[in-house]
Symmetry: C2
Subunit: 82 residues, 2 copies
């Protein structure tokens, strides 16, 4: 059994409008020395599978099919044995 | 100068409707051994500040003021020296 910790990130060459909006918010609360803010997605899920290679394939399928937009985003994950 | 890596997570006692929706999606692609899916937020930002304690206070202020909803969410972060 594994807990997967999955990061889905917009490619760094693609504009992140939410990050830009937060940069404006940061300035509005008087902070001027913060930059390059990115907002990404983070998922956790449990795979009831003892073979790590099989668990990895299941997580890849979920990321490719549901979690990441292949045109804009990349993903990576780590598995923690439970 | 530090790169902050910030996780903003809905408290585990509070329902995560997006996670539940993804669980339905996972079942719809024929995967039945995955459960307890949570969708959280992940941010990165750069703080132009050399004192780690000051940098930590700046990130706390941004999280408390902008990134995390104190009624529903908790946050934690790590700082990586650049």
């Amino acid at each position: 059994m594994y807990r997967a910790k999955i990061f889905v990130k917009r490619r760094r060459t693609i504009l992140d409008p939410q990050g830009k909006a937060i940069e404006l918010g940061v300035k509005s609360i008087g902070i001027s020395n913060v930059e390059d803010i990115r907002m990404d997605k983070y998922f956790e899920l449990t795979v009831n599978e003892n073979d790590e290679i099989v668990a990895r394939k299941i997580v890849d399928k979920i990321c490719d099919s549901l979690l990441a937009n292949p045109h804009l985003e990349d993903y990576h994950f780590e598995l923690e044995r439970l």
